[in-house]
C-alpha cells in the first residue's frame, strides 16, 4: 500500500493536474509549459497557505 505524506500527496496531485491543465488550456508548447508551472505553483502554494491558516485557527 502506498502511504504518502500529506505534502507528498499535494505535490503529486498538483503535478498531474498541472500537466493536463497546461496541455489542454493553451495552444503553443511554450504557453503550455508556462501555464502548467503557474498551475503547479498555485496548487502547492494555496495548499501551504491554507495549511498555515488552519494551523493558527486551531491554536
Amino acid at each position: 500500500m502506498f502511504k504518502p505524506s500529506h505534502f507528498a500527496a499535494v505535490v503529486l496531485f498538483a503535478l498531474f493536474a498541472s500537466v493536463v491543465f497546461g496541455i489542454t488550456q493553451r495552444q503553443t508548447p511554450r504557453a503550455m509549459v508556462r501555464y502548467g508551472i503557474y498551475c503547479f505553483v498555485l496548487f502547492v502554494g494555496s495548499a501551504v497557505v491554507l495549511s498555515w491558516i488552519m494551523f493558527f485557527i486551531a491554536r
Binding site: M1, F2, F13, F16, A17, V19, V20, T24, Q27, T28
Partner: protein
C-alpha cells in the same frame, strides 16, 4: 460579446480558420477514444507528445489512487456518491476493468484511502478534459 484572450485554447478566429478536411469523417472518434483510453484521442490525431504526457499523468493518478486503497464508486447512496461515481466514470475503460477485477477498497477506513478516492475521481475528470481537448483538435477549434 465574446470573451477571448491571447494564448487561450479556443480563440474564435481559429474556429473560422479551421481547414475543411478537419470537418470530414467521424469527428467524435477522438472524443470517445480519449474517454475510453487516456491519451488515445491525441494519439489518433498524431499528437504523440501531448498524448503521452496526458496518458502518463492520468494513468499515474489513477494507479496511485488505487495504491492508496482508494474506493471505486459503484452505486449512489447520496448525492456525493453520485458525483464521485460520475467522476470515476470519466476514467473510461480503466474504471470498468478495475471494477471487473475487483480493485479498490470497499470502504474508506484511513485518511490515505480518502485521498486515493479523490485521486481516482480527479483522474476521471482530467481524462474528460483531455478527451474534449482531443475533440477540439479534431474539429479545428485548437491547433
Amino acid at each position: 460579446m465574446r470573451y477571448s484572450q491571447k494564448g487561450m485554447s479556443t480563440e474564435p478566429n481559429k474556429i473560422a480558420d479551421a481547414p475543411k478536411e478537419s470537418q470530414q469523417g467521424f469527428v467524435y472518434l477522438p472524443l470517445i477514444a480519449g474517454w475510453l483510453v487516456p491519451g488515445a484521442g491525441h494519439f489518433l490525431l498524431r499528437k504523440w507528445g501531448r498524448g503521452a504526457l496526458l496518458a502518463a499523468s492520468i494513468l499515474c493518478m489513477f494507479v496511485l489512487g488505487l495504491a492508496m486503497q482508494g474506493k471505486l464508486y459503484g452505486g449512489a447512496h447520496d448525492i456525493l456518491d453520485l458525483l464521485s461515481m460520475a467522476g470515476d466514470l470519466g476514467n473510461g475503460l480503466l474504471y470498468i476493468v478495475s471494477r471487473v477485477l475487483g480493485l479498490g477498497a470497499d470502504q474508506v477506513q484511513i485518511t490515505t484511502a480518502d485521498w486515493g478516492s479523490r485521486f481516482i475521481v480527479v483522474s476521471g475528470l482530467l481524462n474528460v478534459i483531455a478527451a474534449v481537448d482531443a475533440h477540439n483538435l479534431r474539429t479545428g477549434r485548437k491547433s
